[in-house]
Symmetry: C2
């Protein structure tokens, strides 16, 4: 278990949320000018983004282009779908004019039109028509991160904790810690099962926490399904088991279903059964409906966003679906601090209520995503960096190949692994043999080759050597170039006599 992830974060502080295995934040000779005028809380928020994100931001200023910038960065690290952004941009451009009256204050949790459109969408997609979601179950905030931040604030007090299966989406850790002061407790999943999320392993982590001298008071569990970084979808029975387990423990169950409309048909790397991935995915909302429940109850909440399924990270439009009346009441006011422009909401409502467009978009987006996933899997399988075959967990949805680069460990030099261990600057039990130092050394070699991916350490993975490769943030051709670069980066250096 990654000890830096666990434990109570100081209120408002992000320090406790930094994974111990992670590379240290870019060190500064001195704090920025004016830091002494900040509050203690303000200074705690000075912690910069993790290195892989900073590199991604830097890389966006030097992007690869086959014709104009063939030495630029290929970024496969950010959870971004650029493949269908043209379709969304085209639809936004066809919006009707906003009525002048809609510029005045409205509902802070979302416009009536967009909330109604989302309720209809979710009734169809998450519930397959088995139940109608009421409009007032739907709340908008400026991105899924804001939803997690607000939800964390409402369900947990500073120092309380949330249990999250690992490998995890690291945004959860920051979202909970930064403003809400809520800690993350890791629940490591089994590499042998492709890190499949199970109630049994949540129970193990819960018990490990309870055995601590000072257990973290747990308030909730967050389940990402379809998975980030694995791309896996949970079997129906396991979704039900997790909800039953959370209820038995008195925990809220937060299901992040942000990739629900981004299923892959056919899934690359096998792993599918006879059902299409869209059918294999089962929302917790449908599981509860099948159990005869009329809603999500007071303790199950669903998070979604336009970021992934609609290629709209920059639209900052996240969604909370909840049937807890008290949570709804709080969200009607706290979303004042993170509400979405009525202008953007009107354009999104217009798109969602355009049935033919929506159907065509989902189909074409799935086609493009699936094609990109297949091409990425093929490029990975064809590559032989350091002579090794590379494999990944078979995804059924989402944007990622969760890739096992442990075969490359043997090709690292002692010097670069030792340098990586030193650069990480944290106490390493294993010294230069430390497996996470090897992971970091692989990461650094990829950065030198101008290929950016997310090291598993940033996903709080317990087993070193896994990397998250996004196949939706670059073209298929770029992904092939990336693998060619990886082959080159791990080609034995010729020794001249």
């Amino acid at each position: 278990m990654a000890p830096g992830v666990d434990g109570a974060a100081p209120p408002g502080g992000a320090d406790a949320a930094a994974p111990t295995n992670a590379p240290p934040p870019a060190s500064k000779a001195s704090p920025p000018d004016g830091a002494s005028r900040l509050s203690a809380r303000g200074r705690s928020l000075l912690a910069p983004f993790p290195e892989y994100l900073q590199l991604s931001f830097a890389a966006s200023a030097d992007p690869y282009d086959a014709d104009t910038n063939p030495r630029g960065f290929i970024s496969l690290s950010v959870a971004e779908n650029r493949l269908s952004a043209d379709l969304v941009a085209d639809r936004l451009a066809r919006r009707p004019p906003l009525p002048a009256g809609d510029l005045a204050y409205g509902n802070m949790s979302g416009t009536p039109d967009l909330r109604a459109a989302l309720a209809a969408l979710f009734s169809a997609s998450l519930l397959r028509g088995k139940r109608s979601i009421p409009v007032d179950a739907v709340h908008l905030a400026s991105g899924a991160g804001a939803v997690i931040d607000l939800l964390g604030s409402v369900l947990a007090d500073p120092g309380d904790g949330v249990l999250i299966p690992t490998p995890l989406y690291y945004g959860f850790v920051r979202d909970l810690a930064s403003r809400a002061g809520v800690a993350t407790v890791a629940a490591p999943m089994d590499p042998a099962t492709g890190f499949a999320i199970t109630a049994a392993e949540l129970e193990d982590a819960w018990r490990a926490n309870a055995r601590r001298v000072t257990p973290v008071p747990l308030r909730a569990v967050i389940i990402c399904n379809p998975g980030n970084p694995t791309g896996a979808v949970m079997p129906r029975a396991e979704v039900a088991a997790v909800v039953a387990w959370a209820r038995a423990k008195g925990l809220h169950a937060i299901f992040d279903e942000i990739y629900v409309h981004s299923t892959l048909e056919p899934p690359p790397l096998g792993g599918g059964d006879d059902d299409p991935a869209a059918d294999r995915f089962v929302s917790v909302a449908e599981v509860l409906a099948d159990a005869g429940e009329g809603g999500l109850g007071n303790d199950v909440h669903i998070v979604w966003s336009f970021s992934k399924d609609f290629c709209g990270n920059a639209l900052r439009a996240g969604v909370l679906l909840t049937d807890n009346a008290a949570v709804r009441e709080v969200f009607e006011t706290v979303t004042y601090f993170s509400s979405v422009a009525a202008d953007t909401q009107a354009a999104l409502a217009d798109a969602l209520t355009d049935g033919p467009w929506l159907e065509g978009y989902f189909a074409e987006n799935r086609r493009r995503l699936s094609s990109a996933a297949a091409a990425a899997a093929e490029a990975m399988q064809a590559a032989r960096p350091a002579g090794a075959a590379i494999s990944a967990v078979a995804p059924a949805a989402g944007f990622f190949l969760w890739t096992d680069l442990r075969p490359l460990f043997g090709a690292l030099t002692y010097a670069e692994t030792a340098a990586a261990a030193a650069a990480r600057g944290v106490a390493l039990a294993g010294g230069p043999d430390d497996e996470f130092a090897r992971e970091y050394a692989v990461f650094k070699r990829l950065v030198r080759a101008k290929v950016l991916v997310t090291p598993g350490d940033q996903c709080c993975c317990e087993e070193a050597g896994w990397f998250r490769f996004c196949f939706a943030s670059a073209t298929e051709a770029e992904v092939r170039v990336a693998w060619a670069r990886i082959e080159d980066a791990f080609r034995p250096q010729p020794v001249f006599p």
Copy 2:
């Protein structure tokens, strides 16, 4: 001093921020379903909006219309400019299409285009070209409320306090308390001067706080200039005096200049000198530039928003202007939780960089605002509710007439004042003679007449009987109907024999 405003708010709790003089929140027989599943912090956030805001929301469902709903509500309570919304809506509709690439993650503090456009706007309007504002001084978040919330978090720790002249804009109190747990300490200004903001009275309030058994640790002062609710602009020398005073005390000085482009020409009710109001307004940025300073320093910050000057409350696009490098660094990350849709930002940047449109818009908006202000002042002066002449502080900018309704106190019956005192449900030293009970009784009579205004108590005014009348949220004809209703509401009831 309103004791409920002062004192340390519990972290994350808004309770301590409710003015003691205020009507109690709409009471509930029982907490909403699911409340027991919230954290202590979550339950503290269940406090609803104050009654006058709830009434405003309810009234928006039943708005007055001379032809179709002559018995509907006329709302003069929300700080909203509806007079020029058509111009803004037209311009938004003429936006260019958003490039697909702009749907991907970008800078969380604002798009480069909009930040550059705002830097240019402020260099011209706040600084009159005396200095150029650097682009990285500009940060966007989802509304001025979000900016205050984030700034409060960064500059103050939970339990710390911010000094604010009263009467105040009550949003400040909620914005600081709700999430950041920062307390408000009132600095009452002198009714005899029209509540003009002075450094001398800030010093009095500072000393009163210091004399407490447990002083609130003060970290900042917030100055709203042009004023809300007074509409006054501070003399240049007083702006300089406030900054000097704040610096001597080691406080941050936050200037809310949200009405800077909404000056009134000519100002109604006299009160102007030879200079146009636009010239009489002096930004703290200009004051510092005139003093030879190259920027705002580490301790002066300016808040602005598209809400008021661009009729865009629903655009949720607030702005922080700061030269403190540490604050900038924190904002680059914490604005992740409240960033503005790139789509909306692109439309706003396009409008701001359209020089001819911008110039025409500002001129026409000032013309409409000034005409509305003059008409509202005329209607107020012509009215004789309860046979009384009504007066207001002379505004130079903004949307409000800060109106003295104390002449109506004598027309209240003993029974309605006693009922108002009882309805307020808080310990009242004066019983039914309590002046704030009289203010509340006037408010309730206006509500029955379907005229909504903001009682001074909600502005934490120390002197009872003042009301904020917004002249920009309704047409001139509607404002005249409102005053006719007020006359009717205070007409002596005929006694039939």
